[in-house]
Symmetry: C2
Subunit: 332 residues, 2 copies
């Protein structure tokens, strides 16, 4: 690497900050700017937000001004899961000619739910000569990209089953809240109806698997149910009492006619036994991949963002997916 | 896929034939030609060589004439493990502007042992506007690329250990012979001295892991030893008697100073227990990947060749590696 890529962190929530911290440890990447609209963060040094020494990079609220002035090689973008909320942010980056790696779950397969917005982003990125890529660990790797890559050693694949079990007790408080730990079943239902609760991105994972493997689906469906605690569980952050919600069970199905070609089974709850990731391809030859203990969630998401920067910078201009860019791998 | 990619099979040994058979099952690929110098094969229909119905594709001996006339999108190249033996074949393909996916083990990291020849190939490929890619399952996936991709979910990686155990009794005769099954220890030593015996590509696997993870190695070393049968083993093809060689144990080491950063441990012998592939990254967070039962060898190699065609065709012109092209995945 002749010189480090210049990076701006766009969105400084927990994942954005973890990614910024990781960037600061990489010799091939240099954090040169930070963007967030939170008045409690604007003007502060990113090092301070990371509870480290100041690094001379202040948080700015005006993305366009920051990107136009700094002209970074890429932004690491972590502001929202939902494409309608980020389309203008992505267009701003594209107009400035800045490559984007985003944690937006919907951006994994952008045209699945937002065809028109995806076209707008693609047009802007091509005009700006830069790429826009959505990534993460789930969605983005554990239940989708890893299964697609595992298919490389197969002659043919009839169907895919991915199982992910996360013990939410070992995760940060926002994840525990996101899966409803400590709620009553009634509260869980109400939260679920908002559409911003639980795991985001299951449909996108099913779609990425299907596209990666050339399955033509008629239908993508998901189910979400609460897992009720059979006994009390105490986490570092909260206590789930017997009978309360411990977390979620989220299934995703991709079907063609009566056949289920893709089945993704996600369990994230406090006290979940045997945390793991498993990928089983019903294929010739059979392929079985296991991650004993499971892929660490929040840490791995920050890692995927940072480890995709080099690939996104090298990618063709436009709105791209993980199927288009070089395989993600550790950035130094 | 609007129209199928037109493919020529170059080299019709067991792996080349398996790849040709696989191509013939794919709707996005069409076998339009075949090249081999074996007088027993020239002029015969590829379908006949596959013990199937004729498909109207005859084997030709003159690669230049065939590629210039057919102008395929890609060749699947399976003639030799060794770059000096194939450099002119690759230049011929490049002059015809044909992308190459090759099973040559040395081509996985072409400049590792053949810097000048690699430059020649790269120059020819760039001039022809096509890419040349080496791939396979081992080397090419099980002990190298899979470990590199697994690092995508890590903050940092200190070292890598890959273990591959293959029960050679379940593999075809050439593999059993390649690992020395049935030889005496003395015969094994003599064979080993030829440099064309045993597993080819261990150094390339170590190098690909190191490049993929940004390790700067001072030294790549391998050791090869016979595994002696503790009891008689009968395979469908031969019998290994107690005291004879059952197969090989091949270690690869990548070191920086006193530290071993990459350790690849390959056991391929008749009767090897618990066949499997294991990848352990000493990393933050820790990453452990397991393929229970192991990745099928010969089948997976043919699959990797075919499943990399679309990626190679989309890749930038030049001599490329698995680190440069889109992740391999099932071709339809």
């Amino acid at each position: 690497m002749s010189s480090a890529l210049r990076i701006v962190s766009y969105g400084l929530g927990p994942i954005g900050l973890a990614a910024a911290r990781l960037v600061s440890t990489k010799s091939t990447l240099q954090l040169v700017g930070a963007i967030d609209v939170d008045p409690d963060k604007v003007g502060r040094d990113v090092g301070e937000l990371l509870e480290q020494e100041a690094i001379g990079v202040s948080v700015e609220a005006d993305a366009e001004a920051a990107l136009t002035r700094l002209k970074p090689d890429a932004v690491i973008h972590c502001t929202s899961s939902f494409i309608p909320a980020i389309v203008e942010q992505l267009e701003t980056a594209a107009r400035a000619g800045v490559n984007v790696v985003s944690s937006s779950e919907e951006l994994l397969v952008p045209d699945l739910q937002h065809g028109e917005l995806a076209e707008r982003i693609d047009t802007a990125a091509k005009a700006g000569g830069c790429s826009v890529l959505g990534t993460g660990v789930n969605p983005g790797f554990a239940m989708d990209l890893a299964a697609v890559i595992a298919s490389a050693v197969a002659f043919d694949v009839q169907s895919v089953k991915c199982t992910r079990v996360v013990d939410a007790a070992t995760r940060r408080l926002p994840l525990q809240k996101k899966v409803g730990a400590g709620l009553t079943a009634g509260e869980f239902k109400k939260q679920l109806a908002t559409g911003k609760f639980g795991h985001i991105g299951m449909r996108e994972s099913v779609a990425l698997v299907a596209r990666g493997l050339g399955f033509e689906l008629d239908d993508i469906e998901q189910t979400v149910e609460p897992v009720i605690a059979a006994e009390d569980h105490k986490t570092p952050f909260l206590t789930v009492k017997e009978g309360q919600v411990a977390g979620i069970r989220n299934h995703g199905y991709g079907r063609a006619g009566q056949q289920t070609l893709v089945h993704l089974d996600l369990a994230m709850y406090v006290g979940a036994p045997e945390p793991r990731d498993e990928i089983v391809l019903d294929s010739t030859p059979p392929v079985h991949v296991s991650f004993p203990g499971g892929i660490a969630g929040d840490e791995a998401t920050a890692a995927m963002l940072v480890n995709n920067v080099h690939g996104a910078v090298a990618a063709r201009p436009g709105l791209v997916t993980a199927l288009d860019v070089a395989p993600p791998r550790l950035a130094r």
